[in-house]
C-alpha cells in the first residue's frame, strides 16, 4: 500500500527539461523511403573504419555485406538497398571532416528483399560465435555512442558480471525511438536479451524504463516470457538518467568508479534498441542496414518515428519530413547532447537516434552574465563536479588544473550545467573545447 507514496528510484542531482515527447510517442514506426543515392560511411563507429569488399559498378543486394571489420574494434557494413555501387569516395561527416564512404544507387523497381546470411543459433553458438556474429552484423550502441557492441560485451577475464542492464530510459527530450521499439519489438528485445545473457555469462537482466513510459512497462511486463530471468524496473523521470553511470546508480545503487567501466561493478549495460537489433538480426545472420529514428521538433511538419535506411542523406530526409522555412537549427540526436550539423549533406548513420529542427523561437541567444556562484550547476551535475569552478578555469585557459584538480575528464558532456546556468555561460561547450586542448597538449608536450 505504500508503493503509491514511494518515489521512483533515481540518481542524485540532474535536471528536468520539458519532455517534448507527446508529438511522436504515439506514432508507430513507419518505413522511410529510399533516397536516390545512399552514402554509407566506413567509419560510423568508434574504432577503425571498415574495409570495403565491393568495387565500383558492382551490383549489391539489400543487406549484403559491403565492408568488413578491420580488426577487433571495428564492425561490418551492409548495403541499405539493392542497387549498384556508384563510387567509393570521400563524403562529408558529422565531424566536419570528409570521410570515406560507399555510394549506392538503389534500383528503382527492386522489391528490396533483405538477403539473409549465416544464422547464429542461440542454442548451439559459443560465446565467441555470438561476439563474432554481433561484429559481423555491424552492431554498435544505437543510443548514440556508436561504440562497437561486441567490444563492450567482451568481459575482461578478471571481472564477473552479475547483472545485465537493458537501457530503455531515453531521457533526451523529443526522442521516442526506444519508446516505440519497446512497444513494437518486444519479441526481438527478449531474444536479444537471451543472446546477451549467454555472451556475458549473466544470470539476470533488468530492463530500466523511465516513469514517463508506463505503457511500455505494462506491455513489457505482460509479454515477458516466464523462462526469461528478466525484470522491468521503473526509474524516475530525470535527465541524464540514460547515461550508463546514472542508470546503474538508479537501478542498483552502484557507482562506476571514476575512469572505470560498468564491468568494474559487475554490470554490462546495453541500449534497448541495440538489444532489439541483436534479437532481430542474429537469428537470420543479417546485418544492420536500417535503424529507428525520431524526426521531430517545431520546424518539422511530418514528425514521426521512422525505420530509415543507414546512409540516407540528411538533405533527402529533411525534404521528405518537411523542414519549415523558418528553421534555424538542425541537430542529430536530442537537444541536450545532439550534435549541430556542419552540413546537410551528411548521411544518417548507425549512431543517429533522430534529428530535431528548431525555429528561431527556440534558439534565441540569451545575454551572458558573469558567474554569480548560484550553485545551480553544482546542484545539477550528475557527477558532482564543480562546473562553476571549471568554467572559470576554462576561461583562464587552465586546462591542466581542470583535469588534475577538478576531474574534467569525468565529464561526459550531458549539458545539465549549461541548461541550468542563469548567467547563460556556455559551460559544457567550454569543457568540450578544454578537453580538445588538453588532448592536443598531452599528445605533443
Amino acid at each position: 500500500m505504500f508503493s503509491v507514496l514511494r518515489q521512483h528510484r533515481s540518481f542524485a542531482h540532474g535536471i528536468h527539461p520539458p519532455q517534448a515527447k507527446d508529438d511522436t510517442r504515439g506514432l508507430a514506426v513507419r518505413q522511410f523511403p529510399f533516397a536516390p543515392v545512399m552514402i554509407v560511411p566506413l567509419a560510423q563507429h568508434i574504432g577503425k573504419p571498415a574495409l570495403p569488399v565491393v568495387r565500383e559498378g558492382q551490383e549489391v543486394e539489400r543487406g549484403q555485406l559491403i565492408a568488413e571489420p578491420d580488426g577487433f574494434v571495428s564492425v561490418a557494413m551492409h548495403a541499405p538497398a539493392s542497387g549498384v555501387v556508384q563510387r567509393i569516395a570521400l563524403a562529408p561527416a558529422i565531424t566536419g571532416r570528409m570521410s570515406p564512404a560507399i555510394y549506392i544507387k538503389p534500383f528503382p523497381g527492386s522489391s528490396q528483399e533483405v538477403s539473409d546470411g549465416v544464422p547464429c543459433d542461440l542454442a548451439t553458438a559459443s560465446v565467441d560465435d555470438i561476439l563474432l556474429a554481433i561484429q559481423r552484423a555491424g552492431i554498435v550502441g544505437l543510443g548514440g555512442a556508436a561504440f562497437p557492441t561486441h567490444v563492450k560485451l567482451k568481459v575482461p577475464a578478471d571481472k564477473t558480471i552479475d547483472t545485465l542492464v537493458i537501457n530503455g530510459v531515453e531521457c533526451e527530450p523529443y526522442l521516442t525511438t526506444d519508446h516505440r521499439v519497446m512497444l513494437e519489438q518486444q519479441a526481438d528485445i527478449f531474444t536479444g536479451i537471451r543472446y546477451l545473457l549467454k555472451v556475458t555469462g549473466t544470470a539476470r537482466a533488468i530492463i530500466g524504463v523511465e516513469a514517463n513510459k508506463l505503457d511500455v512497462v505494462d506491455a513489457l511486463r505482460a509479454a515477458l516470457p516466464a523462462d526469461l530471468p528478466a525484470t522491468v524496473e521503473v526509474v524516475a523521470v530525470k535527465y541524464p538518467q540514460g547515461a550508463e553511470k546514472m542508470l546503474l546508480r538508479a537501478l542498483l545503487g552502484r557507482e562506476v568508479p571514476s575512469g572505470g567501466l560498468p564491468s568494474d561493478v559487475g554490470v554490462v549495460s546495453v541500449n534497448v534498441a541495440t538489444a532489439a537489433e541483436i534479437g532481430r538480426l542474429l537469428p537470420h545472420g543479417r546485418g544492420i542496414q536500417e535503424r529507428v529514428i525520431t524526426i521531430g521538433g517545431p520546424a518539422i511538419s511530418k514528425k514521426g518515428n521512422y525505420r530509415i535506411p543507414i546512409g540516407t542523406p540528411l538533405r533527402f530526409a529533411l525534404d521528405y519530413a518537411g523542414l519549415a522555412d523558418n528553421a534555424s537549427r538542425v541537430f542529430l540526436g536530442g537537444p541536450m547532447m545532439g550534435q549541430a550539423l556542419p552540413s546537410l549533406d551528411i548521411p544518417i548513420t548507425k549512431g543517429t537516434s533522430g534529428f530535431i529542427a528548431f525555429t528561431d523561437k527556440q534558439t534565441a541567444a540569451a545575454m551572458e552574465y558573469p558567474c554569480i556562484h548560484c550553485a545551480y550547476c553544482v546542484d545539477a551535475c550528475p557527477l558532482f563536479l564543480n562546473p562553476s569552478q571549471l568554467g572559470l578555469l576554462a576561461r583562464a585557459g587552465e586546462v591542466e588544473r581542470m583535469a588534475d584538480e577538478y576531474h574534467l575528464l569525468d565529464c561526459f558532456e550531458c549539458g545539465s550545467c549549461s541548461y541550468v546556468c542563469p548567467a547563460h555561460i556556455p559551460l559544457v561547450q567550454r569543457f568540450r573545447a578544454a578537453k580538445g586542448l588538453l588532448r592536443k597538449r598531452r599528445a605533443n608536450p
Binding site: 568508479p257 571514476s258 549541430a340 546537410l344 534558439t363 552574465y369 558573469p370 569525468d410 541548461y419 542563469p422
Partner: protein, 337 residues
C-alpha cells in the same frame, strides 16, 4: 537547405535552456525586500523613506556612472545594484544624515563591487562594506537611533536628516536605543514579541523579523537563496546562546532575544546569502553559516560593540573562497567521504 535559402546555425549542444536568468533572480530578491522596506517606512516614517531612496539612488547611479567611465555597457539592468542599494539603506539608522547615506552608497558600490570587477567578482557584500565605512567614519551618527512609531513620523523629518555635509548632525532629543544596546549597556531585555513584530528602534529594515523571514522563505522556495546559510547561522546562534543562558541566566540573554534582535535576521536571510560572496557547495554553506553564527555570538556577548552581524558576515565573506578551497563536492565514483 541551401537551395531553399535556410540559414542554419552551427552551435554546440545543449540546444535548450531552463530559462533561468540572473536578472530574474535579482529582481525576485528585490520583490522579497519590498515588504521589509515598506515596513521600515511604516515604522520610521519619512526619515526611512528618504534614507532608502537616497541609498538606492546613490548605489545605482554610482554603478551606472562608473560603467560609463569605463566605457562598458551599464550593468544596472541586472538589478543586482538595486538589491545592494535597498539592503544598504535597510541597515542604516533611519535618521542618518542623507549626505552620509550617499557617501556610503558611493563607497560601497565603487570600492567593494566595481573595483573588484563588478557582479560576480565582489569578494564582500557591497552593502555591508558601505555600512562598515560609515560605521568607521561616523560612529556617533551610526549609533543614533530613532524610536519606532513616532507620532509625527509622516509629517516631520528629523533635523539630522538634512544635516549639511561635514557638520555635526543635531538630534531632536528623541533618540531611542536599540534592544541590543539596551541590553549591553543597561542590562535591559526587550520581549521577543516586540522584536518579532518590529516595535523597537534599530536600523530601518532590521526590526521586523517576521517580514524578513517571509521574504527569505519566498526566495528559498524559488531556489534563489540557499536556506542552509540562514539555517546554519540561526541554529548556531540559538545553540550557543541557549547553552550560555543555561549556565548563567543573569549574564546572557535568552535565545529568543538573541535571534530576533538587531541585524541578525536581516543579515542571515539577505546579506550572508549573497551568492557571489558565499561558498558554492551545500556543506561549504553550512560551514560558512556556522562561522557567522559563532562570530555574531562572540562579538555580541563579549565584544565592545552591542552588535556584530556586519563584521561577522564580512569576515565570513573573506573566508568563503577558502571554504570553497577546502570543501569540494565528492566526485561520482571516487569513494565515499
Amino acid at each position: 537547405m541551401s537551395n531553399r535559402g535556410h540559414t542554419l546555425e552551427l552551435r554546440s549542444s545543449p540546444h535548450i535552456a531552463s530559462g533561468a536568468s540572473v536578472d530574474v533572480i535579482m529582481r525576485n530578491v528585490v520583490w522579497a525586500l519590498l515588504p521589509v522596506a515598506a515596513y521600515a517606512i511604516y515604522a520610521f516614517g519619512l526619515a526611512a523613506a528618504m534614507t532608502l531612496l537616497v541609498a538606492v539612488i546613490s548605489c545605482v547611479a554610482t554603478e551606472h556612472l562608473l560603467c560609463r567611465l569605463a566605457t562598458t555597457p551599464s550593468t544596472v539592468r541586472d538589478w543586482s545594484v538595486t538589491i545592494t542599494g535597498l539592503l544598504y539603506g535597510l541597515t542604516l539608522p533611519p535618521a542618518l544624515p542623507l549626505w552620509m547615506v550617499a557617501c556610503g552608497g558611493i563607497m560601497g558600490v565603487s570600492m567593494a563591487k566595481f573595483l573588484f570587477g563588478g557582479l560576480g567578482y565582489n569578494a564582500f557584500n557591497p552593502a555591508l562594506v558601505g555600512r562598515a565605512i560609515l560605521q568607521a567614519a561616523f560612529p556617533a551618527a551610526m549609533t543614533s537611533w530613532t524610536p519606532a512609531f513616532g507620532v509625527d513620523r509622516f509629517s516631520q523629518v528629523p533635523g539630522s536628516t538634512f544635516t549639511v555635509p561635514f557638520a555635526a548632525p543635531v538630534y531632536d532629543g528623541t533618540t531611542g536605543a536599540t534592544p541590543l544596546s539596551l541590553f549591553k549597556f543597561d542590562g535591559q531585555l526587550t520581549g521577543t514579541g516586540d522584536l518579532l513584530l518590529g516595535l523597537t528602534s534599530g536600523s530601518a529594515g532590521e526590526t521586523c523579523a517576521l517580514l524578513i523571514l517571509a521574504g527569505g522563505i519566498y526566495l528559498a522556495v524559488r531556489k534563489m537563496l540557499n536556506w542552509r546559510i540562514p539555517a546554519a547561522i540561526l541554529v548556531t546562534v540559538a545553540g550557543l546562546s541557549w547553552a550560555l543562558h543555561q549556565l548563567a541566566p543573569a549574564d546572557y540573554p535568552p535565545v529568543g532575544f538573541m535571534l530576533f534582535s538587531g541585524g541578525l535576521m536581516l543579515g542571515a536571510v539577505f546579506m550572508a546569502t549573497d551568492m557571489v560572496a558565499s561558498p558554492i557547495t551545500h556543506a561549504g554553506c553550512v560551514a560558512y553559516g556556522v562561522l557567522i553564527g559563532l562570530l555574531v555570538t562572540v562579538i555580541r556577548l563579549w565584544g565592545g560593540m552591542p552588535e556584530g552581524v556586519m563584521y561577522a558576515i564580512l569576515i565570513a565573506n573573506a573566508a568563503s573562497p577558502h571554504i570553497d578551497g577546502l570543501i569540494q563536492p565528492r566526485v561520482f565514483g571516487t569513494g565515499r567521504g
